[in-house]
């Protein structure tokens, strides 16, 4: 069963500039975000993901198309009339107010009674574990603490949707990992719909219920992390999320003939000129003379601790990377220059039409 849609963009176009120099930051984008889900917009910088977020928040108006909240058209509403709050990349905390005043700001602007503001502020500060710092000025806080204040401030008015614009990008790695877990916990506890923007594919995979992959103002694929990773819709998605080996080939009637030589058996997929996509961890090394294996030569080996990346060259020089998990004690005994056989795990081969 699918939850009802919380926020929806329908055929949204956003162009900056006019006439010949106009740039389409969003090019006919349609996406429905379900109530209570953790939805991530993932893409490289300049792909339009932040623009889409700003349109949902109301900071900018679309050139055409509509934004709906719980089925109601809110395209013309200014940001202060939308029950949607934002956690800004720069946090944008008010420097002249204390932590508690920052958190209570939204409720105060809504004209809520003083007692209620006090109660909610205290509850929000407890939720982000900052009770002890309520009276501090925000300038006295560390980056991680400011991040928590920004979260508490955006959650306090209990918005229908919380927008998060790369909120973890300014934190160091360790703090970022902590905040990822913290964000999931907050989303679970509040039940609020989260729309999260990031360019970090690992962040997107670990945190999201669903991911929308964006490039050049369009959404290329929407789906759960596992689907995005194992069944990328096209070459961009496959290369942007994780590492992928791309092998040009021809497909006819279930037989795929690689341009580098060798054949593979696949089920379904587009016919004709195709690209075979296979993840490095799905590539197996076998003895070079094993029947049906692709012939390759080891070029070099890069040791990563948990695994070793083995770079190989096929007969025509096409490079393939195999990720070999490190075993407890054995050195696999591979050397550059050695011949090797390659096999792809069953079901791991994806055919891309473009």
């Amino acid at each position: 069963m699918t939850a009802p849609t919380a926020v929806e963009a329908r055929n949204v176009v956003k162009a900056f500039g006019q006439g010949e120099v106009a740039v389409r930051a969003l090019d006919d984008v349609s996406v429905g975000i379900r109530r209570g889900e953790f939805f991530t917009l993932l893409g490289p910088s300049g792909c339009g993901k932040t623009t889409l977020l700003r349109l949902i928040a109301g900071f900018e108006a679309p050139t055409s198309g509509t934004i709906l909240l719980d089925g109601r058209d809110i395209t013309a509403d200014p940001p202060n009339r939308r029950p949607i709050n934002t956690v800004f990349q720069s946090y944008a905390l008010f420097p002249h107010l204390t932590v508690a005043e920052n958190v209570g700001f939204g409720l105060r602007m809504q004209g809520k009674p003083r007692a209620e503001i006090g109660n909610v502020t205290a509850r929000m500060l407890a939720l982000v574990r900052l009770e002890a710092l309520a009276g501090r000025r925000v300038a006295q806080l560390s980056g991680g603490q400011q991040q928590r204040v920004a979260l508490a401030r955006a959650l306090a008015p209990q918005p229908r949707v919380l927008l998060l614009d790369e909120p973890l990008s300014a934190l160091d790695l360790k703090l970022r990992k902590e905040m990822q877990i913290e964000l999931k916990r907050l989303q679970h506890e509040t039940g609020i719909t989260f729309v999260f923007v990031t360019h970090d594919q690992e962040e997107a995979l670990t945190m999201s219920d669903r991911i929308g992959v964006m490039s050049a103002g369009r959404i290329l694929q929407i789906g759960p992390p596992r689907e995005i990773y194992t069944r990328p819709a096209n070459r961009f998605v496959a290369s942007f999320i994780g590492e992928t080996n791309f092998l040009p080939a021809r497909h006819a009637g279930g037989r795929v003939t690689l341009e580098a030589g060798g054949e593979l058996a696949v089920e379904g997929g587009p016919e004709g000129q195709v690209t075979v996509a296979v993840r490095p961890e799905q590539v197996r090394l076998v003895p070079p003379d094993e029947p049906g294996a692709l012939r390759a030569t080891i070029r070099n080996l890069v040791y990563f601790g948990t695994d070793t990346h083995c770079h190989l060259a096929l007969a025509d020089g096409t490079e393939v990377v195999a990720r070999l998990q490190s075993s407890a004690s054995d050195d696999p005994g591979l050397e550059p220059g050695q011949p090797a056989g390659l096999r792809f795990a069953p079901g791991a081969v994806q055919l891309l039409g473009d």
């Binding site: 109301g58 940001p79 202060n80 944008a92 905390l93 420097p95 002249h96 700001f105 955006a154 008015p157």
Partner: protein
């Protein structure tokens, strides 16, 4: 990479710098020193005394000129700062528009047009207004001072606004603040140091003005600077030194506060 350029490595820098400071401050030090002179002559030392301060303090003309100066400076700085704040908001908190540079130059007109030209122009305009209305009060001086104080108030306020993070106002709107609430609860409190700085700069500029005041004032409307100018034409007494020193003290105090306010930004 070589070491970066350092002016102190040039010959004679210290000497030239010392000479420049001497030229700037020697006259002021002399003025201040002689304000405590007990003698009647302006350039003969006769021992330390506060007698010229006492004389100036007791002088009714000085009293009324001081009061008039303070009234005009206060009123002009309030008016100029209000106008300048609106102008600064109008030129920074909106989309870029055609003629922006022209507006910027127009607002700063008093910095560019020779003061004597403004003075003559105001004299002519106010003379006809006087004839038409019969009003001859301090209003003319306050209006004139307000006008030339606007750019001095405008510049620090605009600088402060430009240095302010626009995302703060976006965040306020995101948190249900309507445009007025955003201004009242976010923009204005953050802008306050700039406004105070602008007001004080305007106050000091007004307090010091001679040229425009001399042209615009009616009979019996001397401000402190025009009174002093009048005194110099007759007999120069160390009383003028004492008044100058007091004025200097007030200006330094205000500019110190101005400096502290503009330094501590963000």
């Amino acid at each position: 990479m070589g070491r970066s350029f350092d002016v102190t490595s040039l010959p004679g820098v210290t000497f030239v710098a010392g000479l420049a400071f001497l030229a700037l401050y020697a006259p002021i030090v002399t003025l201040v020193a002689y304000s405590f002179n007990d003698a009647n002559a302006i350039s003969v030392w006769g021992g330390f005394s506060f007698r010229w301060y006492e004389a100036a303090w007791a002088n009714r003309e000085v009293q009324s000129a001081t009061a008039r100066s303070l009234v005009i400076a206060s009123a002009a700085s309030v008016i100029a700062t209000s106008v300048a704040t609106m102008a600064a908001l109008g030129t920074t908190r909106r989309a870029a528009f055609r003629g922006q540079t022209f507006i910027y130059v127009a607002i700063n007109q008093p910095l560019m047009v020779p003061e004597i030209v403004t003075a003559v122009a105001l004299l002519i305009v106010f003379a006809s207004v006087k004839v038409a209305t019969g009003y001859a009060g301090l209003g003319y001086l306050i209006l004139a001072h307000s006008a030339f104080c606007i750019p001095f108030a405008y510049l620090p306020i605009r600088a402060r606004l430009e240095g302010m993070d626009l995302s703060l106002e976006t965040a306020a709107a995101d948190l249900y603040a309507n445009p007025w609430q955003t201004f009242r609860h976010v923009t204005l409190p953050l802008l306050a140091p700039g406004i105070v700085a602008g007001a004080m700069l305007a106050f000091v500029i007004s307090l010091d003005d001679v040229v425009i005041t001399e042209f615009v004032k009616s009979a019996g409307q001397d401000t402190l600077p025009t009174y002093m100018l009048g005194q110099m034409r007759r007999a120069i007494t160390p009383e003028v030194n004492a008044i100058s020193t007091a004025l200097l003290g007030l200006t330094v105090a205000l500019l110190t506060v101005f400096f502290l306010l503009t330094r501590k930004r963000g």
